[in-house]
Symmetry: C2
Subunit: 344 residues, 2 copies
């Protein structure tokens, strides 16, 4: 276990390194007012901390920087929760003041605002459509054989598919189908559309339509296509301000990684349990992110997980501040969205 003095030194070292991005030596630590012992003592402690793997040297006679294990320890044990500053608080609340009617717009603005106040890159996984309920379905033929199918959810989200219609389906078939579907499927969560369709609607279609088989196949197909969540970014260029990303090759690798939506989705989805999650460096699975940390929080509507907020920064990130901000915003977002869309 670490002694109090070691804890203090580790804390100072990480705080300072996060601030300045420069290796810290025993002498500069000893010069702080809250340090009462000499640089030689600190040297010994630093050597011990290094042996335990919490800090490392960049070269043999350099100062120390935190290791990933050091950051992990810092986040798990040393983090003094900081209050969100007043100006940050105002920024966040202003999001909700001018009540934005579009959910997507609200999310987009949240991403932008997060990146602006943190100076890091924000990533938000958009409202999951999976557990929202069908409000209305519409099929609009746009030319011979093709039509646009529109599904509208109770959160005002619109899903759109352009499809080829079964060739022998005429206008009246279409109308009857739409009516039946709207009648039977309204209020059904997207996740259950397919089973409801097979269980309840199949019979109705059978009695009302000629070639019900093709249409049913077609609808089953439609309802089981994976709906992937949208990914919103804010401040992608903020990465370029970090001293650890002055190398264009590193930037390229990271950008290429975070523009692959499926990868990002996987990354942020890892566990959608509530609470703040911090992934440091290599914990992130993507090798392009080994000098980055990712802090995530999730937001929900009426207890139902809806999406994920994330901040991507260097491992040398202002953990306390970002954690505080994400915690606040995720709770606010959850509250506002629940108010708006969960009103029974």
């Amino acid at each position: 276990m670490l002694t109090n003095r070691q804890l203090l030194i580790l804390q100072i070292l990480i705080d300072e390194y996060i601030r300045n991005a420069e290796p810290l030596g025993s002498r500069s630590i000893s010069k702080r007012q809250d340090i009462t012992f000499s640089s030689a003592t600190i040297r010994n402690e630093l050597a011990d901390l290094e042996d335990m793997g919490f800090i490392e040297k960049t070269h043999i006679s350099s100062g120390r920087i935190p290791s990933e294990k050091g950051y992990r320890f810092y986040v798990d044990h040393l983090l003094a929760p900081v209050n969100v500053t007043n100006s940050d608080l105002q920024q966040i609340h202003s999001l909700f003041h001018d009540k934005m009617s579009e959910l997507e717009l609200l999310i987009e603005h949240s991403a932008k605002m997060l990146s602006e106040i943190t100076k890091y890159t924000s990533i938000i996984l958009g409202p999951e459509v999976y557990e929202t309920k069908l409000k209305h379905l519409q099929i609009v033929p746009i030319s011979i054989g093709t039509a646009v199918i529109i599904l509208i959810t109770d959160t005002g989200h619109v899903e759109k598919y352009t499809v080829d219609l079964p060739i022998d389906m005429d206008a009246s078939d279409l109308e009857r189908t739409v009516n039946i579907l709207n009648d039977r499927l309204q209020g059904v969560p997207f996740s259950q559309l397919k089973s409801k369709l097979v269980e309840e609607v199949e019979g109705l279609l059978l009695t009302h339509l000629n070639n019900y088989e093709k249409i049913l196949d077609f609808l089953v197909q439609l309802f089981q296509t994976e709906k992937s969540d949208k990914v919103y970014y804010g401040g992608k260029t903020n990465i370029l301000n970090q001293p650890e990303f002055q190398d264009v090759e590193k930037v390229k690798a990271l950008y290429n990684a975070i523009e692959q939506y499926d990868l990002v989705q996987q990354l942020l989805h890892q566990d959608d349990s509530t609470g703040i999650k911090v992934k440091i460096g290599a914990e992130n699975l993507l090798k392009e992110m080994k000098s980055c940390s990712l802090i995530t929080a999730s937001y929900s509507i009426g207890g139902q997980h809806m999406g994920t907020l994330a901040i991507l920064g260097p491992t040398r990130m202002e953990y306390p501040r970002v954690i505080g901000l994400l915690d606040l915003l995720s709770k606010d977002l959850t509250r506002v969205l629940t108010d708006r869309y969960y009103s029974k």
Copy 2:
């Protein structure tokens, strides 16, 4: 005017510089087989070309590189049109083979493919909704006082607005309104929706609805909101491979500029006349793009301008190849879209 020899030398210099990104000296030019005169002669010619402003030096004893005026001359007078290579041709055609039903998807894939085969960054201004015709309008209430309004165009595009409904509008009002609008406005181009509404529909609403004024106001408001085109990007990180963008500051400035959709739209919209347009360096108005060139082509449906294809690269760009590709793709795209959506 330039002599034939000067033309030859300028052509060689620009071609080589585009290939290697390194200043070219008289000696290396004289070593080519197609050059029959000595380096001293070339030195004299280079000095003349420099006096005329077509080429410049990076420092006093360096080789020459093309100036913007040089590139301009090259593009306007020296460009030998090159044929699109077979493999590029296949790539482009494969876009259309697996017939994609979603127009947006086709555009998105086009952007990706363009960036992959050119190794530059592609920007596509996505189908303009302005001249497409209304196919169907739907209003779906999603909670008390709010509704989603959906407009579907004849190209299968869906526009969505979440709006606050006038408080005293009941379900039957809504239904009547929707019916009237669909009846009267189908087939009307978006650009004329507002005038048609005022001219033809106002009277009908008056006779069928109680509080028609509020609703009319509301619809006028809706129809006159600017519909800004979507911007699609491909290969944004390709910029980082260019030797002229090894400086992170430059990259940041450019990225910040091209992520401002309104700026980009303005930039690509500048003239939507047909044909290929080449904007070199400072011709681009944005100072962040002064070391870039932008080559644009437009695509249309049935003669109606729909959007713009663009390639963004360093001024040292492979003009002939990119021009050939854009020309081909824009024409193919126009043909395919016209076939698909202009069938009377």
